[in-house]
Symmetry: none
Subunit: 222 residues, 2 copies
DNA sequence: GCCGATCTTGACACTATCGCTACGAGTTAT
DNA sequence: ATAACTCGTAGCGATAGTGTCAAGATCGGC
């Protein structure tokens, strides 16, 4: 739970603890990101209007490496704020003032979704490489130095790997990685798919696992 | 999209269609449940306060057999209503009046989550081939090399496969695949049906599943 | 305030797919 | 029996889509 007002933090913490949730708190964005990295949470409740960072920045800071559900609290009911937060990766957006029971219900709603879908296979083999989605590591076969991927490369690869064998449309990839206003910028996809293939395919010119379906999208073939 | 006010239905439908969503509408709970069963949607936007059923009843009616994402719209901001709807199985709850862009952002947020986890895989057998419409794959019987189809071929095949055993008229196929101004260009159909048969029929000269109904249209025979 | 890494953006061949025309075979109507 | 029609097949140029290279813009760390 991230909020800059100590009394709200206290109140929510008590409320949540009473329902048997374990609660870690942070008062600003930087602290929150470090705490989340140190002890990955199952859910983030994030108040906007933090002293040190823009709200969308915090969300992107989390989304760069985790798919943890994020519920945003905010005093601003402005539509543009909501859209920005949701498109940055938030799962829900609650406007203050809100009832505690409503927040609890929304927490149940998002965790119900996620809990049912936590498949216990965060490690995938892409050809000879071993990709660990939760640890964010890519290991080559001979145990040598590991392959480094940029945040955008991770984001793109993760979507494909979470849909093994399935075709993922260009629109969906662009929308999930870059946002809804980039749905036609297919050159981004070409650019980053090429980089992924250079790093993960034995023969980048003839990919065997990161496949193109012309005119439709891309597919990860296990 | 379920709403009892025709003008809201119309407005939303236009808005969503402009974003390339396919929209089916229903004006009451019973119609909605039947329509969802007949043609399972990828997302349900449900207005509360329907004439025939309680909102939570509709949600439970859907949740009984599908995990499709449900976004609830409501004029009532009462906390108890929100909790009831969310706990009945709704994924999000938006209070009227709301901005269209906010609803669109919430639609993106829930589909972003679900898109990766939807497991209802409708697989159809065309002779010895196994066609997975959601994964966009065609597998031959011996597990060997896979069959590749172009976007137009997929589009055409999908319409036929979604109407198993039924005759689909040439006009309808042409309109759905190429657009309303191509309703008489039957040569396109001949062209692409021949390609599909070459790829999916054991003896393309004597098709057993992709059948021609002379003068009328085509039919997929399971 | 500088520097390296990462993200954008533009440009250009190359290829597969598409839209379209044409023609023979089979079928139905007259 | 002949004509009119529909269907299957082949072939072609045009074009949209893709892979690739390169360079500018932006961000973050030291």
């Amino acid at each position: 739970m991230v909020d800059d007002e100590p009394q709200i933090l206290r109140a929510m913490r008590i409320n949540l603890r009473a329902r048997d949730y374990e609660v870690d708190v942070a008062a600003d964005g930087g602290t929150a990101l470090r705490a989340a990295a140190a002890r990955p949470p199952d859910l983030v409740v994030l108040d906007l209007g933090l002293p040190d960072m823009e709200g969308a920045e915090v969300i992107r800071g989390l989304r760069g490496w985790t798919t943890v559900p994020i519920i945003v609290l905010s005093g601003r009911a402005d539509s543009a704020d909501k859209v920005a937060a949701l498109d940055a990766g938030a799962d829900d957006y609650v406007t203050k003032p809100f009832g505690v029971d409503e927040l609890l219900a929304r927490i149940r709603a998002v965790t119900r979704r996620i809990g049912a879908t936590t498949d216990a296979t965060p490690v995938v083999k892409v050809g000879a490489f071993t990709v660990d989605l939760s640890a964010r590591t890519v290991d080559p076969p001979d145990g040598g130095g590991e392959v480094r991927l940029t945040p955008t490369e991770w984001h793109l690869l993760e979507i494909l790997l979470r849909n093994p064998g399935k075709l993922v449309s260009q629109r969906q990839l662009l929308q999930d990685v870059w946002g809804p206003q980039y749905q036609t910028e297919t050159n981004y996809l070409r650019q980053y798919m090429a980089q992924l293939r250079r790093k993960l395919e034995a023969d980048p010119g003839h990919p065997r696992h990161l496949l193109t379906e012309p005119g439709m999208g891309y597919r990860f073939q296990p």
